[in-house]
């Protein structure tokens, strides 16, 4: 197709579609505000609704395209682009594609729900505030979608930081969308904490930049010694400008170049080790704040609790994972250069601390349910870090056993990972489980926030007890989603947690260093105790929501309380056959049910159940390839 490969088309469509839709929404909003047609003109309102549906169609298209790429993925794709004068190098490998798939899936669910969320708000009256207009909401959601898609596809680590920072900007105004004091304070807390945290990540990236610049300086000073070893690598990556050989390009901050250089031994000196070590620590603190790790998690409960349901879905489902993606990229580089035991221990400890802090917060009985869901995000991000930590630690300690047993396998062989899993080496298994858990948590959290958002919308207030009685369909989905969240079989989260623990236990059995095996044993014990307590905590909260009793003077009449009159049906037809019985308490009419409102919930529930029995083959291979990238870089 005019010389474009399918991968190039995929990149362009994936990035351009949500970006252009976002700008169209914002520009139209601006024009509407300038011409004062906002909320006054019916065609303007119709146009804004139509654009919402267009965003939904775009999300569907992007998801289908991502699935097609996953099914036909064969090798990584690299392409340099230039935006005005800024070079943007794109790199898509299995790990990137996996995250792109998750982002598109969750964004579709959120966009679908946004349409109903906004129409319900419209029924309650319109506001003249530009930040509360549906066009602003849809535009910001599209831009948010774009920034989260940018994170896994950029190669340059500085652009990665910029993309993550942009997600903060776009999402902060959405957190305050409800226009209440609590919402704006939550948005303020969110943007201040994540911005201050992410700036640590920039400092970490700077230390890495110093390490690579140091190498270039040593290369130029010792050309005769370094050129035979690294000259080809530098030429292949176009590190020096063709016009001016003394000038370096932006390629030196590309992840692929740093990885190749690290594997080739370019950072084998104490100075570089120090920079990588500090860089990794600052990165974990910086991006860890965005990923919601404890003790930097204080923005999580307010941000997720006060945001509208579709936004909470995006924040919890994909934003946290995008930040963790950045940590994974630096984890891979740091593992190659410095001791993988150190980097994995850091992640393991962070994961355990997050679990320990999440447990009492979830057990607190009087917490609002949405805040409880936010604390579950803290718990599950802790589990993900725990999985990568214990897997990386085990792999770092014990992978020599594979080599020393001489199975005739080349270390760089792509089948090494499969062989490790076949042989039962747990490090790789635990990391596989962790990556699988990322997807499971994203789907489950999306399900929970969306179903809870629908419940709140139907109730119209925060006193939402007795959901199973009043709204049996949504109540059932809430129960099933809650059981998934706490890791009950046969749901997907149980399977991923099982894989993580299985991998960890396998490594403990073969680890010979007492200190590390003790650390791993203690970690797994904490994991078991925390998950058990969290199970009890969520069951209590769920029981309160689905079975509790509401205040007597505010009750909603469910359809089960309507009486059906056969005679009236025969005479007048279906419309007049139902009658509301006389009740002693005040009732509030429910709004007409929209049948397509719950479709994303059913689909999410289906996948959450499906993945509890196993992965689809292509998806399994994708996660396997992603595990290999996390461990080796290739």
């Amino acid at each position: 197709m005019n010389g474009f490969s399918i991968d190039e088309i995929f990149i362009k469509v994936t990035l351009v579609a949500p970006l252009s839709l976002g700008f169209i929404h914002i520009i139209l909003l601006g024009l509407g505000k300038l011409s004062s047609t906002i909320n006054k003109s019916s065609w303007f309102n119709a146009l804004s609704r139509m654009l919402g549906y267009l965003s939904l169609c775009a999300s569907v298209g992007l998801l289908i395209f991502s699935i097609e790429r996953v099914l036909n993925f064969s090798k990584p794709f690299d392409k340099p682009y230039v935006l005005i004068t800024l070079p943007i190098d794109i790199h898509i490998d299995a790990l990137s594609l996996y995250f792109v798939l998750i982002v598109n899936a969750i964004s579709l669910a959120a966009t679908w729900n946004s349409i109903h969320f906004l129409s319900a708000r419209e029924n309650n009256g319109t506001s003249n505030n530009v930040f509360q207009h549906p066009l602003f909401f849809h535009g910001s959601v599209n831009l948010f979608h774009f920034t989260m898609l940018l994170v896994p596809v950029v190669n340059n680590l500085i652009l990665l930081w910029i993309a993550i920072e942009l997600t903060t900007v776009v999402s902060a105004l959405l957190v305050g969308y409800q226009n209440k004091r609590a919402s704006w304070e939550a948005a303020w807390k969110y943007i201040i904490i994540t911005s201050t945290g992410v700036i640590f990540a920039l400092l970490g990236t700077m230390f890495l930049a110093n390490a690579t610049s140091d190498f270039i300086t040593r290369y130029e000073d010792n050309l005769s010694e370094f050129e035979p070893k690294y000259g080809q690598l530098l030429n292949d990556n176009s590190v020096f400008e063709s016009n001016d050989p003394g000038k370096v390009t932006n390629v030196i901050m590309n992840w692929t170049f740093i990885r190749d250089l690290a594997v080739a031994g370019g950072f084998d000196d104490p100075g570089a080790h120090r920079f990588f070590l500090l860089s990794f620590l600052f990165i974990v603190v910086g991006y860890g704040t965005k990923a919601g790790f404890a003790p930097m998690h204080t923005w999580l409960p307010d941000g997720h609790g006060e945001a509208p349901a579709p936004i909470s879905t995006l924040l919890s489902g994909v934003l946290l994972k995008s930040a963790f993606y950045a940590i994974l990229r630096f984890f891979t580089l740091a593992n190659i250069v410095i001791d993988p035991q150190f980097t994995s221990t850091v992640l393991l400890v962070i994961g355990i601390i997050s679990l320990l802090i999440a447990t009492p917060l979830i057990l607190k009985p009087k917490n609002l349910f949405k805040r409880v869901l936010a604390y579950h995000s803290l718990e599950h991000m802790g589990i993900i870090a725990f999985g990568v930590g214990i897997g990386g630690l085990g792999y770092g300690l014990n992978h020599h056993l594979v080599i020393s047993n001489n199975f005739g396998i080349d270390i760089a062989n792509k089948n090494l990972l499969l062989t490790e899993i076949y042989l039962g080496f747990g490090g790789a298994i635990a990391i596989f489980g962790s990556l699988f858990h990322i997807m499971n948590h994203a789907l489950t959290k999306a399900l929970m926030f969306l179903v809870f958002g629908n419940i709140i919308r139907k109730y119209g207030e925060l006193d939402y007890k007795g959901v199973l009685r009043k709204l049996p369909g949504l109540g059932s989905i809430l129960i099933l989603g809650g059981l998934t969240l706490v890791g009950m079989p046969p749901f997907s989260i149980f399977l991923s947690e099982f894989i993580i623990v299985y991998g960890g236990l396998k490594e403990i059995l073969v680890t010979q260093k007492i200190v590390y095996s003790s650390l791993m044993i203690i970690s797994i014990m904490i994991f078991f105790v925390s998950t058990l307590l969290i199970f009890i905590g969520l069951i209590v909260h769920l029981a309160r929501v689905v079975l509790g009793k509401q205040d007597k003077d505010k009750k909603y009449v469910s359809r089960w309380l309507y009486r059906f009159r056969w005679k009236k049906y025969r005479k007048l037809g279906r419309r007049r056959a139902y009658v509301r019985p006389r009740l002693n308490f005040r009732v509030k009419m429910r709004k007409p049910r929209k049948y397509n409102e719950n479709i994303p919930l059913y689909l999410l529930l289906l996948f959450v159940l499906l993945f509890g029995f196993g992965l689809l083959p292509k998806l399994s291979l994708l996660i396997l390839a992603s595990t290999r990238i996390v461990l080796f870089g290739y």
Binding site: T168, N179, W188, F275
Partner: protein, 331 residues
């Protein structure tokens, strides 16, 4: 051109041999200390603006020294890099006070006045063109109102603390627990931050006997930038009013700005970090312009609603919303 290059090299040698930048960096740290221990928002903003100009001098001189030492001179590409470095602190210095005043006022800008003027006819000279933007200016009454809000915020944040000469710690530790008086506490933590920064800097650039003097500039530069960074974080976390929290974020920005020119090679990849910092500063300005007025307006609206309900004025929180990052989580 050769004379210019010669003068440049002489200037760079003068700066390097006499360690001109080190006292300037120390002064940056002292200004950060004064911002940390001060509560008066006007003083904080003034000290921040002085720090911005000082930072501008330090980063500009550092960039010139590095460019001449590493590249042998300044070309067109590197001039653009110098301009980028120069522009950001200058813009902050020029605009920050106005933006903070606007954010405090939290009233909508009167765009209508500008539209009315344009409808009368497009201006034909510079004075008329500039007068189109008069609606952006603050009048005397608004300035007095802002000064009063800033003074009240400083008083309120201290009233509970200084009533008994004791400090109420942050809410995570309990509201009635005594700790240290505020100023000594801030001084103690500031010097701890300084010590930690120097430890990290000496770890990253260990003193090497052969190249001791060359390393000194890098060590002190990194230590200063880390201390600005951490002190800014401390300000953001502990200050209760929104304006001081934003100043804390901007001080962190300063620390990073200094780190870019001190530890990263110029012009590449330092140029990309400068672009990243422009993006970060843009985000901070966006917070000021868009979010602070919304936060303050929502606080005032809620106070008025409660006042209507109860008939008594609640404590108007103005700038002190429950926005501290360490604030107790509300259920």
């Amino acid at each position: 051109m050769e004379i210019f290059q010669g003068l440049l090299i002489f200037f760079v040698l003068f700066i390097e041999n006499n360690h001109i930048l080190i006292p300037l960096e120390i002064f940056l740290v002292l200004l950060t200390l004064s911002i940390t221990i001060d509560d008066d928002i006007s003083n904080i903003i003034r000290n921040y603006r002085i720090q911005t100009i000082l930072l501008l001098s330090v980063v500009f001189l550092t960039a010139i020294v590095k460019l001449v030492s590493e590249s042998g001179g300044i070309s067109l590409g590197t001039s653009i890099f110098l301009l980028e470095i120069f522009l950001l602190p200058l813009l902050l210095f020029w605009s920050i006070k106005y933006l903070l005043q606007r954010a405090t006022l939290s009233q909508n800008i009167k765009w209508g006045e500008g539209k009315e003027k344009i409808k009368k006819g497009f201006p034909r000279d510079w004075k008329s063109f500039l007068s189109l933007f008069d609606f952006l200016k603050l009048d005397q009454q608004e300035v007095f109102q802002i000064q009063r809000i800033w003074r009240n915020s400083a008083d309120k944040s201290n009233s509970q603390e200084e009533a008994n000469g004791k400090v109420r710690t942050n809410s995570m530790r309990g509201k009635n627990r005594e700790f240290l008086p505020r100023v000594p506490r801030d001084l103690f933590i500031f010097f701890a931050i300084l010590l930690l920064s120097f430890i990290i800097a000496f770890y990253v650039f260990p003193p090497d006997g052969a190249h001791k003097n060359e390393k000194l500039e890098e060590q002190i530069g990194l230590a200063v930038s880390l201390s600005l960074h951490l002190a800014g974080l401390y300000n953001t976390v502990t200050k209760r009013d929104i304006i001081s929290q934003v100043i804390g974020v901007l001080i962190m920005d300063h620390g990073l700005y200094l780190a870019v020119v001190k530890i990263v090679a110029v012009p590449v990849p330092a140029q990309y970090f400068v672009i990243a910092l422009y993006a970060y500063t843009f985000i901070t300005i966006l917070i000021l312009v868009l979010m602070i007025p919304q936060v303050i307006r929502s606080v005032k609206e809620e106070d008025e609603k409660q006042k209507d309900k109860k008939g008594q004025p609640e404590i108007g929180l103005d700038l002190i919303a429950n926005t501290s990052p360490l604030a107790e989580e509300q259920d």
